[in-house]
């Protein structure tokens, strides 16, 4: 039941990943946890989409990856935001804001008339 909650996440996955990485390098597992925690368990990242997205963003040059040791001393692949990624994040944040504000305005008006 909780599982079905995040179907609309797909389109914004990139934005969420970039934002998470702006706080510092992290591996895929960590990104999953962080998004889930910060969103108060509302947003859940699917593994099947996260890793392809990460690799795609790496190809785009928005993030770079390197191997590092995790908190529990295992080798993990850490992703780090690049300069291009920072720009991309800013752009996507702006887009998101515009979108949500627009949606909010529409909802406000529709609510007023109803």
């Amino acid at each position: 039941m909780m599982k079905q909650k995040n179907d609309t996440l797909q389109g914004t996955l990139g934005l969420l990943v970039l934002k998470t990485l702006s706080r510092g390098p992290m591996h895929g597992w960590g990104i999953t946890l962080q998004i889930q925690e910060i969103s108060g368990d509302v947003l859940r990242v699917e593994e099947g989409s996260l890793y392809p997205a990460l690799h795609r963003m790496e190809q785009e040059g928005w993030i770079s990856a390197e191997w590092g040791l995790s908190e529990n001393n295992r080798r993990a692949r850490y992703y780090r935001l690049t300069a291009a990624g920072r720009k991309q994040l800013a752009a996507e944040e702006r887009n998101w804001k515009q979108l949500t504000e627009a949606v909010a305005r529409v909802l406000a008006i529709a609510g007023g008339r109803a």
């Binding site: 690799h55 795609r56 692949r77």
Partner: protein
């Protein structure tokens, strides 16, 4: 830069795979750990972690495609796999390659010959301006021959042509060359030697027959062709009666007989016992208005030397020559014809009353061709039949290939099903099959090129080497015509690929489970395929039957063509 890295990734494929595996493993392990911590039993925890990833193979495949520069890598992989598949079924592969190769090869060879030999115009500069001048006599019969006197009138009075030339062929005996160069010539081809049917070509005393094209003085200047060495005949030559008669030697005969000795110009040869001086050499393979390369060229005014007492130059009834013209700039065929018709009517009054030429007739002007129109009409039927027959060979080849591919598609359904269920995307399967067909086609193409070359070599080179030299040299460029090859190749490739892709198309319709089960459950589709095969067999039988009938007709009609008097 992404691109560069992807190409770079190609070279560290293995490492990349391992890294991908490790990255995903880490995530799985962490999830499992978390699950256990949250109170799941260990087995359940592991299963849950895996389930979250969905189809792991498919995920890895997707990610590999992201990481790698997809096309070249999978392309190369596909090619290798295709090669393996073809090797694994040598029976299918060899049959398909031979069938396709033969179909393409025969077609390319025949159309090449057709184009090189029959579609060739007159060998001249700006050949599109050249036309044949013939006439239809009072009885409606086609007649390409004119007398020399008529020709002279036409040449001098008709303004529609920038040049009007006449030519007639002859065979003469070459009895001597001063300072005899080595007369040995490499005779015949392999076929001739093996079959042992060299025709006798030497006549008594080491003489030999040579072909001679006897032409008007303006022949070369009108065609716009110069001599390789020496000079050609000039229209305005001041003919010194006391000077020795002149001939031109063809480049081909010069090469064959004189081993390209440049000193041949100026030498004397004895033709029919009369001394002629070689004044020039024509370019190799130059055929003029002839269907092949003659050994010598001679002006019409000298014809009387070869045949003492000949009235060719004086007798208006001696229809000796074919006439060809170069249309003057801006003159249409219709205008030229009208002018010629008018003059022909005047000339008919000068002919003897018993002559056909004295009766009403009309002039015909057709695009320049060494084959007269009459021969064209007779040959046309045979040519159409040959072309149809050859086209059907291609059709049969394609149908056979389609049949083979269909039969194999049934066998491959399972393989495709397995691969699809293991996470191969539809596009990937499609690409794979496409690569296989393309590889098959490419190999068949290579085979067919060899086959084309072989067929052309045997039919043209060897047979013309076997023909008596008196017939002249067939100067055909018998390299496979690449344009035709490309055309035929594409047709058969498209046919092959279309049917090669059926398994992929079918798999997109069928659900995987039933594909994985044995065929028996797929009764309906089995019937469908069978009826498809039935259609192919029916078509093939029909085409073979037509081919047999056409072949029979072809033999009959070509026999008649051979019997025909070609004048």
């Amino acid at each position: 830069m992404g691109l560069l890295r992807r190409v770079g990734n190609l070279f560290r494929y293995k490492k990349l795979n391992a890294e991908l595996e490790e990255e995903l493993q880490y995530h799985l392990a962490m999830r499992e750990q978390l699950n256990v911590k949250e109170g799941m039993p260990e087995m359940e925890a592991r299963k849950n972690a895996r389930r979250r990833f969905g189809n792991a193979t498919q995920l890895k495949e997707t990610m590999r495609e992201i990481d790698l520069f997809t096309l070249p890598e999978t392309g190369w992989q596909d090619t290798r796999f295709a090669a393996r598949m073809l090797m694994k079924h040598p029976g299918f592969s060899v049959t398909a390659i031979l069938v396709l190769g033969l179909g393409i090869g025969v077609n390319t060879a025949l159309f090449t010959v057709y184009r090189a030999f029959l579609m060739r115009g007159i060998d001249a500069d700006h050949r599109s301006e050249m036309v044949n001048v013939d006439r239809t006599n009072y009885a409606g019969k086609f007649d390409p021959m004119f007398s020399f006197l008529d020709y002279e009138e036409f040449r001098d009075r008709v303004r529609s042509f920038s040049g009007l030339i006449a030519a007639t062929g002859d065979e003469v005996a070459l009895t001597g060359v001063d300072e005899g160069p080595s007369l040995g010539r490499p005779m015949g081809g392999v076929l001739a030697r093996v079959a042992g049917f060299n025709l006798p070509r030497l006549i008594g005393g080491g003489a030999e027959f040579v072909t001679t094209l006897i032409v008007s003085d303006n022949y070369f200047s009108t065609l716009g062709v110069g001599a390789l060495r020496g000079r050609v005949f000039e229209a305005d030559d001041a003919h010194d009666a006391s000077a020795p008669a002149e001939v031109l030697i063809s480049g081909n005969y010069w090469q064959r007989k004189f081993r390209e000795d440049p000193a041949v110009v100026g030498k004397n040869v004895k033709l029919n016992g009369i001394v002629f001086t070689i004044v020039g050499i024509t370019p190799k393979d130059f055929m003029g208005t002839n269907i092949n390369v003659p050994d010598f060229w001679m002006p019409l005014r000298e014809q009387v030397l070869l045949h003492p007492g000949s009235t060719l130059l004086k007798d208006r009834e001696d229809a000796c020559c074919r006439i060809y013209g170069r249309l003057a700039r801006g003159v249409s065929v219709g205008e030229a014809r009208a002018e010629m018709d008018l003059l022909a009517e005047q000339l008919s009054a000068q002919h003897m009353t018993y002559s056909d030429a004295s009766k009403p007739m009309s002039i015909q002007i057709s695009p320049g061709s060494p084959f007269g129109r009459e021969l064209d009409i007779n040959l046309k039927f045979a040519i159409v039949l040959i072309m149809c027959a050859v086209g059907m060979v291609l059709l049969i080849a394609c149908a056979n290939l389609a049949g083979l591919q269909l039969a194999r598609s049934a066998a491959r359904r399972k393989e495709i099903g397995v691969r699809a269920s293991l996470g191969a995307s539809r596009g990937r399967l499609f690409r794979q099959l496409l690569t296989e067909c393309a590889l098959l086609g490419l190999i068949a193409g290579g085979v067919s090129l060899l086959m084309t070359w072989g067929i052309l070599h045997v039919t043209v080179v060897e047979i013309s080497a076997t023909l008596p030299a008196e017939w002249g040299a067939f100067a055909l460029h018998v390299a496979p015509d690449m344009q035709i090859f490309a055309y035929v190749f594409v047709i058969s490739l498209v046919a092959g690929v279309l049917y090669g892709l059926t398994p992929a198309l079918e798999s997109s319709k069928a659900d995987l489970v039933s594909a994985l089960k044995e065929e028996s459950s797929h009764f309906a589709s089995l019937i469908g395929r069978h009826s498809m095969r039935g259609v192919f067999i029916t078509i093939q039988v029909a085409v073979c039957l037509v081919l047999m009938i056409a072949g029979g007709l072809l033999i009959r009609s070509s026999m008649r063509v051979l019997e025909m008097e070609t004048g």
